[in-house]
Symmetry: C2
Subunit: 336 residues, 2 copies
DNA sequence: CAAAATTATGGAAACATTTTCATAGAGTCC
DNA sequence: GGACTCTATGAAAATGTTTCCATAATTTTG
């Protein structure tokens, strides 16, 4: 049988209340009493029961992380960082993966609510929209939007500066002499896609180039879309000289098509991507990409969430962190 | 304010007890009452409070998943499946990532213990060994070894049949006419590496071939080892005609080296791997590999754990599930 | 030196459930 | 037709904490 606070109290010859205060360093407790409590607790190997603890304040010591998948952006480093940081603050991390599906997302939102998590770090699914529920929940508990957003200024958010990133890499390609740069992008409803498109167009405009409709392929952030769009682009009268793949998944499709058509990077075509993965370094040739510091993203998200939890504010002014992007130049783009 | 069972009871004109029974489908409840309860619950948007629920039985409704990383084997599908299944049984999943480090692993083991998790699904870290603590913990709560094991027969385990898998793919290469098949493998302390080596040797022996020491490169499951070992093998007097990369990380290193040396797969060299990832399909040429059904692995692990939790047995006979492997033939190996 | 503030502790309520016990009507058995 | 069993429900206990309220002792303030 595991020791409860009652057992500690009995052993120390004190009341539960005092033991609780001593252990939590809340109210007044004398030095001597504190020592007695600590010794008794140690002797009994007492560990507070997490559930009973959470029962009172009505939030558990859990925070929910609801994301589309555990790869690319949400890979080891992000999740690892979050786990570690949260554990250090005595929070557990409850991971849910909605797999871009709104129905699963909904289920998990409810679940996290039921589990009375203290807060949620949330990435919208691509297919479907539960933001109504999200905003509703946000009235009771802090929610941080991570990496994606549907509407600006409503919730706290930690985002990549996608406008800047897209502009940066498009400029780079323009600098190499490319004039027909195609953009294969995913869903348009989210700021991610919108902003990347925006940054791309911005760079073109700055260079005095018109945005050619046929070079912009908006579909989904999927391998299928990347594959099909790439085929399509190659079948155009005037094929592009550079491709900007809007995500890792899209990139996979692009690469698949190029292999199938026996088109070589970068001699026949330059390719650049968004976000970095180890496989992009391994690829022959290594792929140039725009990346963000994911650890930093994780850091801000957790930090902000913990702050919101510790200083409850009924209607806080939404904060927004915009993460700078960095261009990782490899060998997949050549000058023309 | 969130609705409690009390509110539901009041609205339905019943007692808390009846509502509880109705919602949990435990004791006797009439059809009519059940309907009333469900309607009231729906109207109030009632969600049971998880912690009050867990307070009763002495274990939290959490189970711990302690794994090295969230990629390759432990990717979306595995974690997604586990989350879903566990949630369906009213358990939460607490994810911890030890990143192959024994010190982190230790920390998380203690943490999971403190949090009174009802059980742990556990994958040993490669660097270092906490199995003593693991066995100690296993006396109090069910622990399932996942995918890796240090010693047979002590704990419940869900493992891939690595002997069979390695044998299968080695046979395949032998069938293509290869006689000099190199194996680049990781740590030897875990059954994973041991068994894959064993299966490899088994297939060679069956074919009446001697196991050439110089073709076996045991190091770590890392990209670095793959890279170095591949270089080394190519510098041998008689270079191998086929490479068996012991993990995805090792494979990355192998591919990197081959690119650097301008060696083409499969014309110059055949390459096969263990475990499947989307990038293996994308690679040019797509890489042949031995894979296991990860969903099945997740399924057995969760199933077994839930069984152990529901039927507590002080000293259960350890169960072992061995998952069959399947050979996924792509285009990275050619007949010689 | 009296009043007020601070320090220290215990008793009991509160948290939201589940579970046990009690009660009682309705069938069923012999 | 009495003894049982089955069905259905409610009251209350139990779970392990934290927090609120009360009570004193001690210290500070005016």
């Amino acid at each position: 049988m595991v020791a409860t606070i009652k057992d500690v109290a009995k052993r120390a010859g004190l009341s539960q209340a005092t033991v609780s205060r001593a252990l939590n360093k809340s109210g007044y407790v004398s030095q001597e009493t504190l020592a007695r409590v600590e010794q008794a607790a140690a002797e009994l190997g007492y560990q507070p029961n997490w559930m009973a603890r959470g029962l009172h304040g009505k939030s558990s010591n859990l925070i929910g992380l609801l994301v589309p998948e555990v790869m690319s952006l949400y890979d080891n480093s992000v999740i690892q960082y979050m786990t570690e940081k949260l554990h250090a603050h005595n929070y557990g991390l409850m991971l849910c993966i909605h797999n871009e599906r709104a129905d699963l997302d909904l289920k998990y939102l409810q679940l996290l609510h039921e589990k009375r998590v203290a807060g949620i770090i949330y990435t919208h699914p691509l297919n479907g929209d539960n933001s109504e529920l999200v905003h509703q929940l946000a009235e009771h508990l802090p929610i941080i939007e991570l990496n994606r957003r549907r509407e600006a200024g409503l919730l706290d958010a930690v985002l990549a500066d996608n406008i800047q990133g897209a502009r940066q890499i498009t400029r780079y390609l323009l600098g190499l002499g490319h004039r027909r740069i195609a953009l294969i992008m995913g869903e348009d409803e989210l700021t991610t896609g919108q902003n990347r498109l925006h940054g791309y167009q911005l760079a073109l405009t700055e260079a005095g180039l018109p945005a050619d409709r046929r070079l912009i392929r908006i579909g989904s952030f999927s391998r299928q879309h990347g594959e099909a769009a790439m085929h399509d682009l190659l079948d155009e009268d005037v094929a592009p000289t550079a491709i900007l793949a809007g995500s890792n998944r899209i990139l996979m499709g692009v690469l698949k098509t190029l292999t199938a058509r026996n088109i070589h990077i970068p001699v026949d075509l330059s390719v650049a991507a968004f976000n970095d993965t180890e496989w992009l370094q391994i690829w022959n040739p290594p792929i140039t990409t725009v990346d963000i510091a994911v650890e930093e993203m994780a850091h801000w998200a957790v930090d902000l969430l913990l702050k919101r939890i510790s200083v409850p504010d009924v209607k806080p002014t939404p904060r927004e962190y915009l993460l700078g992007t960095s261009l990782i130049i490899r060998e997949s783009c050549r000058a023309v």
